[in-house]
Symmetry: C2
Amino acid sequence: MECTGGYPQDGVPPLEGVAGGGTGYGWNDDGLHGSNLFGGSVDPTKVPSRDLLHVWCMPSTANVGPQETPRSLENISLLAARNERESIQIAVRPKVSWGRPGIAGIIQVHCTDLCSASGERLVIGQAVTLRHVVPLLGVPDALVPLDLPVSQITLLPGETTAIWVSVDVPAEQSPGQYGGEFIITAMKEKAEISTQLLAKDEKHQIFRELRNCIDVVESIEHKPTENVGERLKSISTALKRVILYPTFSEISSDNDGPMDMIEDDALTTLSVHLRLSVTVWDFVLPRTPSLPAVFGICETVIEDRFGVKHGSVEWYEALDQHFKWLLQYRISPFFCRWGDSMRVFAYTCPWPADHPKAEEYYSDTRLAAYAVPYAPVISGSDAAKDALRKEVDILKTKAHWKKAYFYLWDEPLNLNNYNSVRNMSSEIRTYAPDARVLTSYYCGPSDAPLAPTPFEAFVKVPSFLRPHTQIYCTSEWVLGNREDLAKDIIAELQPDIGEEWWTYVCMGPYDPQPNWHLGMRGTQHRAVMWRVWKEGGTGFLYWGANCYEKAMIPSAEIRFRRGLPPGDGVLFYPGEVYSSLKEPVASVRLERILSSLQDIEYLKLYASIYGRDEGLVLLEKTGVYLGPERYTLEHMPIDVMRGEIFHTCRSRT
Amino acid sequence: MECTGGYPQDGVPPLEGVAGGGTGYGWNDDGLHGSNLFGGSVDPTKVPSRDLLHVWCMPSTANVGPQETPRSLENISLLAARNERESIQIAVRPKVSWGRPGIAGIIQVHCTDLCSASGERLVIGQAVTLRHVVPLLGVPDALVPLDLPVSQITLLPGETTAIWVSVDVPAEQSPGQYGGEFIITAMKEKAEISTQLLAKDEKHQIFRELRNCIDVVESIEHKPTENVGERLKSISTALKRVILYPTFSEISSDNDGPMDMIEDDALTTLSVHLRLSVTVWDFVLPRTPSLPAVFGICETVIEDRFGVKHGSVEWYEALDQHFKWLLQYRISPFFCRWGDSMRVFAYTCPWPADHPKAEEYYSDTRLAAYAVPYAPVISGSDAAKDALRKEVDILKTKAHWKKAYFYLWDEPLNLNNYNSVRNMSSEIRTYAPDARVLTSYYCGPSDAPLAPTPFEAFVKVPSFLRPHTQIYCTSEWVLGNREDLAKDIIAELQPDIGEEWWTYVCMGPYDPQPNWHLGMRGTQHRAVMWRVWKEGGTGFLYWGANCYEKAMIPSAEIRFRRGLPPGDGVLFYPGEVYSSLKEPVASVRLERILSSLQDIEYLKLYASIYGRDEGLVLLEKTGVYLGPERYTLEHMPIDVMRGEIFHTCRSRT
């Protein structure tokens, strides 16, 4: 056959051109030319994992979604006080696919304990935890716990996956340097998983062979004289054949029993190693948060989703679990249920004051404030009044009574609403003159203006409600970007008779101001508490942490409520949606709330030594927070501020 | 213990309020209250899958991403001509989670053959295929083949997954109604997968038991007199114990061999059933596309990514595979490599004209046009000239020579570029005066203006290039939204001497005009060819279908080239990135290109009966396409137009 027709040599189209792919080809050559990878399929047990994976770190304020682009890998250094949680993210993205169809591959993440030179430890699984960052509405938010110390994660082609690493330093931990490492390894999928369906035929074959052997054995038992040697031979041959099936191959080859983790030196030399070092300093964050942050947990949502009947044993268990879980976040929970006209029934402890659990709840030093149930909510019946009186009579004798407050109405709007608050407060204060009533509001009564303009009327609310409210809790939304207006609010209060200014966020304020909606920047989430500290509030209220849309099954899809910005009223998720876990799954927003409540302790420490004004200077000069629309968009200033507090306050705490 | 403290009855906080969750609770109650689901964990073998899943249909022009919200389920009706592919999407979203940690659950999708009343079939796996829609840069784009007729898909919490269903009607299929169904079932995870790691211990136990039996058998062989009965008994007991291990439980219980599919009636009654009916009409789409659509395949990309050496056996195989694969899309492929100054080396067949493969390629009736390699690309050496002459001498005698064209330069910009085209064309036309040269351009020579304004100069290019170009291939970008300017271009051409107007898209035109970039609407992708048909072009060129960024491993992550809009130059992906598949994976954009090339056949049929003007009226009155910035955003008008053509043209084809 003559085959040299149109081409000058060898019948092959000529090579031509500088690159050959048109625009921009090869601008970002990643250098993956290793002969181990070239051309064929990829065996992760033979090539360094760094050739298969991008691994890099991101701060806790970054929203690391599937499109996050790789950065260079640098070791991690964290600063943490004692009784503080500090978090960071590890991002991983496949460079190639090596796994079964539909995925890029599976990686194993192994984290060691963090050890100090003197042998002290931050133990993986206790002080160090890993969670998988999972998107909600496309935004990375839910933190699903990973197995420890070793877990496996599935990577998808072209998608970045993030792992949330938290270090919880115990209050009694010795200050010093702690170091450990993450070992990230691209895995060859376990034979069991990838070949199991294929191995099904083999299983049937083994089964048939064994049944056949049983028949032969039984035949020998029945006719013990005929050809016994031959029949024994056939059994022995069959059994030897069976144990050579691929199913047993790894057993016969390594013979060292079940082993799921890679501990093989040869393999860990292929892994990506990432050093994590933590500087633990002498400061111990106070066990009782300096700023009471009271957050609602909707008990109706729990009753519906988990199918627990109000007042049943399971109901108490479910509430107890939610209380204890949220308490970890320097938050003082209250359970809540809304009534007509935003009347709210709020209580921190589901048990009555004379129950041992009540004492356990109210005296917990991590609880900064607690809501006392206002029992006569259904009517002003004598029984209800008696019950309230009895509850108050017990509590007002306790040392923890100073943490108590009554939350009776959410955002009164008119004279009728405001008068309800006054009447309920009067009753309460008959039983305990020093009781504190909290009222959340953003305006005065619309049908009896307290002043010519809405803002002036809003500022006049304390003079109208006094002495029926002690905690004046106003929406940050009212201030807009005028933080100076906070002074007008504070000026109206009488701290000498125990009046306080607290704030809250909910639907408002909107972007770019600080709030906790899904899709906002990480620093915007964290800025909510910077704002509180700068404006001078002494407490904070959030309406709901679990207010998803109604569902009647624990694992039902999480949906946000119509009319609310995504994430508003939702700071954690039911674990059942993501796993067989029975406990809630935190959002990254809840973690950032914890971080910002910890920031307040840092700022308070600094202010206790250098004065509050110097604290404000520090907040400004580091660029962390200058105002409701002027705060850092990047993480670095936060570390600078914390570092400055560490350097100037250590050995003085 | 006295426990009735603060509460009026039973010591339980009172129930209060109309709803109890604040804003909007329960607005979208999905009615999942079934006692099978209430409270506990979910067993998909006991509850109807519709309680666990949303299933609904979406048209092929919808970009169905993870956030797509559920719609109601309706059965599918499609219209398809013979030799046509029609596609639709099935979207699935979990209502609850029932699977292992990290996922919502696994579903099984089973599709039956589509049958007519007279027993004719569109066979699953051949005429009916299913692919999984996978996102790229967060946009649903890659279509990864699913197993047929039954496949399993993993669903993630809170994410919608789409399945792309295509029906390819063979040219010889009998017209009529065909019906079949999709059976979608929430699966309990296979014991093999979920319990395999646990079963590892068991495997070791079985292995030990068998080895022990072998020892006993051998001991009998050695000492055939001592306690044989006892020893045989022990073997028989051990083997009977082994076959009762859970590993073999399903074999011993059902005993009917390997079975992966759910065929159990009890289970399919739980499934979601979705009817698919297809009306096949008598029209047969012409095997040779009416509009030549020539698309580049970059051979450098293939060489680099698949590690095939230019000219090697593997290289020819790889090019052959790409050619055949793309030919399925009513596209006429050409291989290409760029040189200096956008000189381009383009050829449809990698073998020389005297090779049997060349005849196979060029005479394929699905190929509407082919690029003949212009060999003297490196220099004007005599050898190269001879080779070119030999190639042309062979081809010009063939019937398929009318499909031949020479593509020499991509977008000449100055006199030097244009003169190169003229010189090469002169040489070619010495050997074959009827050779057709294609030149792609968007401007005249910048250093020798042909007219006072850039657009006028652009329009004058034919008078400047004549007779060195026959196919004047201009960028749609030049027209902007002024489709009337097409008349000015056409007016300059001389169809009597074989001059044609073709167009192309690449970086431009931009949104909202039709193009194939990732992230554009589905109808925007499909509108590219509607535009061609309306403006009157007789052919189309696209620069590259596989022009991803350089990589040296088949399964390397797909990256788009810097400086290009995402998706520009990339219409399919290497199968290795998504699976062990060795063939390319189509994008949804490529499927929409096919659909729009099929639309052209429908319009051409209609115009052949009612005239081109009536065809334009139909395009307008259905709202499908009115201009470069006025085309339908919804799918419905497309079906209306196709239906109208079906009703008015059937039995007239």
